[in-house]
Structures are given as C-alpha cells and as structure tokens.
Symmetry: C2
Subunit: 201 residues, 2 copies
C-alpha cells in the first residue's frame, strides 16, 4: 500500500482535471468549497458522478444526453427536413441560443483529420449517410468550424449529401457584426470581400 | 415533483459553485470531462465527497485536516516554542512553501471585523489564549494580512500575548523583492521608507 496523501492534497490535485485549472486555482477552489460551500460541493460531486455514469450520445444525432434519444431529436415540433452538422455539443448550445433554428442537428465530435487518425467512421458519418438515404432531408446546413480541417470535413459531407440530391448550405463567413475592418485578420477580410453579396435595390 | 432538468444542464450549474467559474467556463469544463476525462471526473467526484465529509479543523491549530490533529501539529520535530498566526489555511501552505519555518501555526479562519459581526470567539482566540497560558511559547509571529482588519487583528492578539510575556513579532512589510520603486503603491513605499533598517558596516 502506498503512503496516504492528505485528503486536501488529493482534492487539490483532483480539481486539476478541470480544463483551465492550475495548481493555484485548484487550491483556491478547494479552500473555498471547504470553508464556505460544502453543500454546493456535495451536490457537484453527486451530479458529476451521475453524469459520468449516465450521459452518453444520442442514438440519432450523437449529441450528449442521459437518454437514448436527446430532447431535440425527440421533439415532434422540430423540422425533420433540415439537419445542421456541427463539430461539438457546445456548438449545438451556441446555435440554439443564438438562432431560431427549428431543425435537427448532427454532432460529429471532431473533424476529419487523417494526420491524427480521425476518419469518417470516428465522426459517425455512416449514421449521417443513413439519414441522407432515408430521404426525408431537404436541407443540410454545414456549421463546422472554419479551420482547414473543418472546411475539409464540410466538403466531404457536402459530396456525400449531393449524391442524394439534398440541398447543402454552409453558414456565412465574413466580418463579425460590430467588427471594425481595420482590426479584422487578413484571411477573414479577404474572404468577406471575395464573397460580397449583391444588394437588392 | 418538479420537472427534471437535463443532467448536462445540472452539471453545468453545479460546476458554478467553484470560485471563478462562470457559465461559459462551466460549460467548457462539463464538455471537457464528459468527452475526454471521465476517469478524472469520477475521481474528482469521489475525492470531493470524501473531503466534504471528512475534512474539518485541527483541534490544536484550526488548520483544515481530515485527522483530529493535523500533520504539522502532530510532527514531533516541529518547534513547540514558536507559533505563527495566519488568517487562512492557504497562508499556511504559502508559508510552508516559501520559508523554512519549523514552528507551529494557528489559523484564525478570518479576521476581526465588528461590522461583519466577526469577534474574538469566531477566530478561536480563546484557544490561542490557552496556548499562551500553557507557557511553552517563546515567540509569536503575526502573519495576518496587511489590511486594516488584518492589522487590527494582529494588534489585538499582540496585546493578548504580551500579558504572558511572550515575544511578539510581525512579518516585515515593504517593497517586494525585485519590485521597482516607481511602480510600488504609495502606502507600501511610505511604510518601507518609514521602517528603514540600519545597515551594519
């Protein structure tokens, strides 16, 4: 048996599994919850244990959920004919909060990246293709990130979808609202300039 | 029974009990541990539960520990004749890491603050006074923070100790090592100037 480390030390080290938490923050968190918020800490521990046990992927859209089918997929009011492809569950939350989109989602949990050994199988593309084959889909919205790999992934999925005569769109890239031209990076500006849209008279 | 919120939502909210964690960080933490570090999250939950149950105050120095007497108080090699008074357990760690101090500590868990209703009883000063009465103590080091309340607390404890003819010292305040005079706040600089020490020839 190894020598027992103090529990406080173990707690500080365990807190470092959270992203963005270094040794000083972990120490501060440990003292804060032990001195002022034991109830909150107990609840966090219980919810964390339950989440780790129960949360898995939705069998339809691969979003994170504790049910077999997530709340979006199971909602009969959502539009079956529209599907939005995103890289991560955080993107689903961001789109739900920012847009009034009423269709469905598909979460890739990554992006195509041959160098890292991430291929179509890892992103659940056979499941996505099955949705294309099913024939209900009329529009596919590609909302992968605008990185090299995100673009490559979007292009790959686009070619899959077009075999089934599904209309494919890509979210717009350009100057952010409220952005000032002089502070925008060159790549974005060049893209925004090249993709300018005709203004209706 | 209230409507059941999604577990993921509960997890994100529970993570906000940690200091410095807002809704975006909590979301990032939740996704990160669920997608990439379930083992770490499980361990964190278990250690957190155990810590909340078991960690209390050392019966001698009031530092946080899962034992009755903390590892510093129980260590026979530490010097019984010296006691350092600090405001919080984090201060003990900071002093242990930075100095070679071999005496004991006493943790106030706060500072005298009549406006907030914090009096001598809340800081365990009767326990501290018992240590003065016991008679082993030769030096008392006051390491409370150099705030108005920290100074007032130090002064109060100093007067308690001096009744028992214990030598009392206060950690030095002044310009931090490596600090440049032009960037030091006026209060610190005035104090450092006023408390200048004679240089031996």
């Amino acid at each position: 048996m190894t020598e027992k480390r103090p529990l406080l030390q173990q707690l500080i080290e365990a807190l470092r599994c959270l992203p963005g938490v270094g040794s000083k923050s972990a120490q501060r968190m440990a003292f804060q919850v032990l001195q002022h918020n034991r109830d909150g800490a107990r609840e966090l521990a219980e919810v964390l244990l339950e989440s780790v046990e129960k949360i898995g992927q939705c069998c339809q859209c691969r979003n994170l959920t504790e049910d077999d089918v997530c709340s979006i997929c199971i909602n009969p009011r959502r539009d079956n004919s529209s599907l939005c492809v995103v890289e991560s569950p955080a993107d689903v939350i961001a789109l739900e909060e920012a847009t009034g989109y009423q269709g469905h989602y598909f979460v890739l949990h990554g992006r195509l990246s041959p160098l890292d050994g991430v291929g179509p199988d890892d992103l659940g593309l056979e499941k996505l293709n099955a949705a294309f084959v099913a024939g209900q889909l009329q529009e596919l919205i590609l909302a992968t990130n605008s990185t090299v790999e995100g673009e490559a992934t979007a292009f790959y999925i686009q070619s899959l979808a077009q075999k089934h005569n599904i209309r494919v769109s890509r979210i717009a890239h350009g100057v952010p609202l409220g952005g000032e031209l002089e502070y925008i990076d060159q790549g974005t500006l060049a893209h925004a300039f090249g993709s300018r849209l005709l203004v209706d008279e």
